[in-house]
Amino acid sequence: MTNGWTDVANADVVLVMGGNPAENHPVGFRFVMEARRKRKAKLVVVDPRFNRTATVADCFVPIRAGSDIAFLGGLIHYALSNDKFQAEYVRQHTNAAFLVKEGYGFEDGHFSGWDAEAKRYDKSTWAYEVDGQGYAKVDPSLEHPRSVFQLMRKHYARYTPEVVAAICGCTKEDFLKAAEMVTVAAANDKSGTVLYALGWTQHSHSVQLIHAAAVVQLLMGNIGMPGGGVNAQRGHANIQGSTDMGAWNMLPGYLKLPRANWATLDEYVKANTPKPLRPDSLNYWSNTSKFMVSLLKAYYGEKATAANGYGYNWLPKAGENDNHSWGFLFDRMHRGGMEGLISFGMNPVANGPNTEKMIGALSKLKWLIVAENFETETAAFWRARELADEYYPDSGEASKIQTEVFLLPAACFAEKDGAFVNSSRWLQWKEAAVDPPGEALRDQEIIARLFLKIRELNEKEGGAGAEPLRNMSWNYANPLSPSLVEVAREVNGRETGTLRQLNGFGELKDDGSTVCGNWLYSGSYTEAGNMMARRGQDDPTGLGLYPNYSWSWPANRRVLYNRASLDHEGKPWDATRAPIRWNGTRWSGDAADYKADAAPQAHGAFLMLPEGVAKLFTPDFAEGPFPEHYEPAESPVENALHPKVSFNPAAFVMDKLGAAAEFPYVGLTYRLTEHFHYWTKHIASSSELQSRFFVEVPHDLAVEKKIASGDMVRVSSARGKVEGPALVTKRIPGLKVSGKTVYQIGLPIHWGWLGKVTGPLINNLTASVFDPNSGTPEYKGFLVNLEKIS
């Protein structure tokens, strides 16, 4: 979230799309209810289903899964063509005025630079026109035909209410009602928030979808404003923290994983330190070297010296074009290219696309190590035939599977201390209440014992990669079970000489005199103590920022981009809710997203970006500088805007796809409030609240197919099938899409072969189709068939 849960209460309009907070984040949803009561905020819900969030909405618009960019593009068009955007904000705080080079264009579904053979874009035309110093040229009048503003206006001219209605399957009237409510926030003194979740991220065009939301919010002047922002409601307790700590192609703090072509630390720093694109850009990533050297000092301690590039070469380097994201990892495993997998608290057989492929991939491993609270389908993948024979007739019998598997009993939350980062980016420290049951161990102890054992073996016998393993620092007071307080202090960072804990990342150096395990968390454990455990109740701004409660990254900032809540001169857009104020010498209020003592006019408001302003147009993504509507990989209709390029041309497809003739309905997966992922089926209370898997069938389709609630049905796709009782409902209406009725089938996740309650794994149905930027699978909107079986 750019803002936070408590801040949602400041909104005047709440757009819930691609999320369902009343069901999946009920406690967070209380701030929506508070905004409605206290500010008379309007709640707009756009979703395929009339879900529990929709029951309390002021406006509900049913749409087809995978049509969200069309809807948001429609909002952009509506705002621009009806003059319902915050013009001064757009002029001052976005790249609307920047000029784009000659040669950029968009035609028949492709942006300029498409390489049909390589199936990727050459992005050289998606760049700014620059002057002799390398600064982007601008036209503050926004009238230049190659200004971002004019290009955007042109790009979205196609997204008329009629086109939106035809693609999304809603009525034009419903769209306009929603558009009118959402664009109320264009006024300087109104804020609107956007709450989303996996309904947006699980598409083959998910990153562009969120880009589209950011464009809408920038046009409304909502970024940096209390009650505004683009807010991801994250689905696991520490999904934010585990990302902050480096996953996929990242090191901690979103520093990029080294690549083979960055041979030295200097080359790495050079490649990852952007040049400012405007004279007033602060360009915060110019500090990359300080963050990186301090991380290397944390990893390699005294072994990291200036002479050896602080041990940079001990870090692994990926090939310059390698992609190791989920789809590629499991695809390679499936083809026999992997030997082993270590899984800490993750269940790929349940949550990866195409379950049978997951099972097949794990079957190719020599070994699998799983640390868990419960026996998961992943740990027990070799039991697929024994436990769910009807779904995996092609999987191997246990006797044929040669994978050696370890299932390690791990502690649960109540048995460990440490910090979780919530969606608001608040790091909240917790204490251990009890010991783990039986022989179960705390995860830090499992990791430490394993690490030290491997290192010992490598030292004793000799082996590959001795230096990277030997030099990784592990000098904890109890190396076999490091205290998490000790780890948290290392993550915060300290001076190497004095051992003084740092106050924040502003103190980091690139000369080896500071150690910091994650620059984003610097300030979380200072000389004053554990800031994450703070319980202060004061709220001096009255905006629900609670600066002394827990600790928020970065720098205890509660509203990201808060400098944009004021104009260029430092005057708040809305004086009644300015999160920060300039007193002539310093900023007060929330931790300013700005240089603490710089005058308002000194820099652009978006410090992390080389532009110094927010990007409506960006070359950062794989499939275009502006978000464009593409159909899901499997769709019942052709793309109404450009039928020849129906599907995201840059997306990754690694599975067999089905066609609408055989699989005419759209499948949707989602969570229910009663359960948590594939976890609570092991727990008595959730097992009571929703005891069995079911399929939600639209009423009219049920009539057509003579299906009544309780009848057993089979849902099948080109990958597999699931079976369960039907729940016939009018809450998932049939939609008119380009003149054709499209039915969507509701498929709650949560079940599996192991638990107090069992049922089919929903990902039996889904496909290995991935967003090209994030590598996230397309779980919303894939083709299925529906049959009554009894």
Partner: protein
Amino acid sequence: MDGQMNRRGFLGSSAALAATALGFDLRPAAAMVRELKISRTTQTQSVCPYCAVGCSVVIHTLGDKAHNVKPAIVHIEGDPASPINRGTLCPKGASLKEFVLSDRRLTRPLHRAPGSSQWTPIEWDDALTRMARLIKDSRDRGFVAADSQGRTVNSLATVGMIGGCTDTNEVNYLLGKLRFGLGIVPYENQARL
């Protein structure tokens, strides 16, 4: 900064209306009802492990921390001091005790030999020795010190790691050290699914 508080702290800070706040004394009724099951508990601050709203909870345990006594969880309830949840919880959070005490929790390491159709209990030491052997051997086979162009890469791409989103920052940091110590490149996370 102590995560544990006394009973007065919990009852006093509760959003509950104290007897006097209701304007009359509720105590006469107390004599007739069952004893409050959290009246003698130790309370520990924690955070719900499910979604990322980040609700604070208070874990009530019995057991006086004497050397030979293991504390037992008797109740888990929302923490009123949190500005996020102010004592409230969703149906998953409201039954966290059922999670911690679930009879399906794993309590000992299990091993499945190649081709076997069952789990066999294994001692931790044996499991660690065996896992370290398998990992080292895979690493010895798969570790690439320099790529085909002779560039130092020190990477291992035939072993993967996944997970982390259910655990703390600090455990994730340690997982990172394990990952980079071994040189593992493929590392995925629930956050990205």
